[in-house]
């Protein structure tokens, strides 16, 4: 296979899931003939007639429809045009989908795709990272693939799961991230991956920030021979505490990095877990690096310093290493 991108992987997974399982169908705005705002579903309506449905601009009803279909045993894959618009579907997701199995014993095999994260010029309403909101609610699985192979395998696995999955796909990676194939190491959802091994400090992160963290690690390698381990969470709920703690056991130092807003969220959860179970392993205070405490700015100049960058991650690591 020649170069495949992250969005290709998503497209291929949708194609294969439709092919493999007649219960799978896709629902979302402009996903039919048009192939979706990001072309994740291009050609699929023609290939699978009647199974790729265009939705009205009704995120609440879209989610409700998908949940109802899931109750009946279908495997809906719901596309939000942007993660940010899932705020309109929020009630259905956290109150209807998340609680259903607990209340009734009937699972909701729903996958909701959220095109997430910032890109230059997208602004406050087309850039959000909403994983922490959904992960807060019991009953939801929240995954955040960072690689082409994970984009494929985790989407396949999400669709196969009986529980509702919020699949956060990063828009910045769509066409930027390339690989030679979708072939993965077959890690299941719930397992983190050590993307880069090291011994001086651990960066725990996920989604697009994995790549920024690796760059920061490379900078520090060049700069001072520091060996930074990078752990890719892959899924934020469930969160693979064991792999994180094992890494901190090797390095003694933790930096949790995320692109979301700084109050609460994934990085706070990571730090809290490490402190509860791996406190004795820490040689320095565990720290966090998130986006700034403002909405996501539209101008690329502002945006580029709103989120963590290789430079700001490296700077945080320097402080951590010098503690």
């Amino acid at each position: 296979m020649s170069d495949v991108t992250y969005i290709d992987a998503i497209h291929a997974a949708l194609d294969d899931a439709l092919e493999n399982d007649p219960r799978v169908f896709l629902y979302g705005q402009d996903i039919g003939k048009f192939g979706g705002a990001f072309k994740a579903t291009k050609g699929l309506q023609e290939k699978y007639p009647g199974r790729v449905l265009d939705a009205p601009i009704s995120e609440d009803a879209m989610a409700g429809m998908a949940i109802g279909a899931a109750i009946e045993g279908a495997r809906p894959v719901l596309e939000m045009q942007f993660a940010d618009f899932s705020s309109v579907a929020f009630n259905q997701i956290v109150n209807q989908a998340a609680t259903h199995f607990y209340r009734t014993g009937v699972p909701i095999p729903l996958t909701m795709r959220l095109p997430s994260g910032g890109t230059p010029g997208s602004g406050p309403f087309h850039s959000q990272s909403m994983e922490s909101l959904y992960a807060h609610y019991p009953g939801l699985v929240v995954v955040t693939p960072a690689t082409v192979a994970d984009a494929y395998s985790m989407l396949m696995e999400s669709i196969e799961m009986d529980d509702p999955v919020v699949y956060c796909e990063h828009k910045f990676l769509y066409r930027w991230l390339k690989s030679s194939s979708y072939e993965s190491d077959h890690l299941p959802i719930g397992k983190a991956r050590v993307t880069r091994s090291g011994k001086h400090a651990t960066v725990v992160t996920y989604s697009a920030m994995v790549h920024e963290a690796v760059r920061a690690a490379e900078m520090l390698q060049t700069e001072g021979g520091w060996e930074i381990e990078v752990v890719d969470l892959r899924s934020v709920k469930p969160m693979d505490t064991d792999t994180i703690i094992a890494s901190v056991a090797r390095t003694g130092r933790l930096l949790a990095v995320g692109e979301a807003f700084p109050w609460g969220g994934v990085t706070a959860e990571v730090v809290s877990r490490v402190c509860a179970d791996g406190f004795h392993l820490l040689d320095a205070p565990p720290v966090r690096l998130n986006a700034r405490d403002t909405p996501i700015p539209y101008h690329p100049k502002l945006w580029a310093t709103h989120r963590p960058t290789p430079e700001s991650i490296a700077e945080s690591l320097r402080k951590l290493l010098n503690y």
Binding site: A61, G64, T99, T104
Partner: protein, 334 residues
């Protein structure tokens, strides 16, 4: 009233009335248990709305159709075939109820049997039912299927109502959406909820068929519901039925409903659909006073028995409960 009985099947009418009667008997019992402090959680009753509720559900077939009851749908639940014990177990906090103590009372449901378990957020069931229908269509299991739910006048103000009905219309789904216009949403009168002339005027804006009916008139309700359900079954798409009546009780049993307008109470809207139904049963020879009295006794006994069984059963035990929010236990607490 002769015209209203035309086309109505005797067994159908008797089924509706029996469900209405059972509902009233059961809800009266729930009301007294509430006053006696024996109920776990709140009590919301359907008094006055039995005709609408039962007639809608009576046109559905359990095992094939979908019925999503809301807070005032005891009569519809019974008409659809829910067991009385499902109700008493939930209200009395038995762990053997369908929600195992995890959710309460009006929220109970059996989604695998076509009866979703409502969440509190008004309007949320409309798209849910639509989705269930969509799935049936996708797997080629749609022949003659209908999905129905009943909401209140207040619910018509929710975005969920709007998006749900519109989406169902776009997909031409066999959804029967009934609005029980009982003139109030909690304490809020219709005048603070909407200013359209008649709620059925909304139908045209969704491109769906609208039906109006006097919700206190049992036979009229049966006729209209049957028509709406038949049309949906025949592929004519969503049907909006607006039935008018008064809520003959507080919003919940904690509420005395003292804000309800006295003029409305004494108007035609304030009629008790069960009383009207009883007269209609007798007048049109569907039953007679003695048989109805006998039914009532049977119902009282059945309710008494269900209450007695439920009260003897265990409460949920937090140390026995599996506390699983995921069907895959590996996902729990992680």
């Amino acid at each position: 009233m002769d015209t209203t009985t035309e086309g109505l099947e005797r067994e159908h009418v008797r089924h509706v009335f029996r469900a209405m009667l059972m509902s009233r008997v059961l809800e009266n019992k729930l009301g007294s248990l509430y006053k006696a402090g024996r109920i776990v959680g709140g009590v919301y009753l359907g008094k006055g709305q039995e005709a609408v509720s039962a007639s809608l559900a009576s046109c559905l077939q359990k095992g094939r159709d979908v019925y999503a009851p809301l807070i005032r749908d005891q009569a519809g639940r019974t008409a659809f075939g829910e067991e009385i014990i499902d109700c008493t177990r939930t209200y009395l906090g038995s762990v053997d109820g369908p929600m195992r103590g995890r959710d309460g009372n009006i929220h109970r449901g059996r989604p695998a049997e076509g009866m979703p378990a409502m969440i509190s957020h008004l309007g949320a069931a409309i798209s849910l039912v639509s989705g269930m229908l969509l799935a049936k269509r996708l797997r080629g299991d749609m022949e003659g299927v209908v999905g129905a739910t009943c909401v209140g006048d207040g619910c018509t103000s929710t975005g969920a109502f709007h998006e749900g009905l519109n989406s169902a219309a776009v997909e031409n789904l066999p959804l029967v959406l009934t609005v029980a216009n009982n003139q109030y949403a909690y304490s809020t009168p219709n005048s603070s909820q909407f200013v359209c002339h008649d709620l059925v005027d909304k139908a045209a804006g969704y491109g769906v068929q609208g039906h109006s009916v006097d919700g206190t008139d049992m036979l009229a309700c049966i006729a209209v519901m049957q028509e709406a359900v038949d049309r949906a079954r025949a592929g004519e798409g969503p049907q909006l039925v607006v039935a008018s009546m008064l809520r003959l009780t507080g919003h919940g049993e904690h509420d005395d409903g003292s804000y309800v307008n006295a003029g409305l109470k004494s108007s035609e809207l304030g009629r008790d659909s069960l009383e009207v139904g009883k007269s209609q049963m007798i007048e049109h020879g569907f039953s007679d006073a003695a048989e109805i009295e006998e039914w009532k006794k049977q119902d009282e006994e059945a309710v008494q028995q269900a209450v007695a069984i439920s009260q003897k059963e265990s409460e949920p035990d937090p140390y026995q409960d599996d506390w699983l929010a995921y069907s895959n236990p590996d996902l729990q607490n992680r």
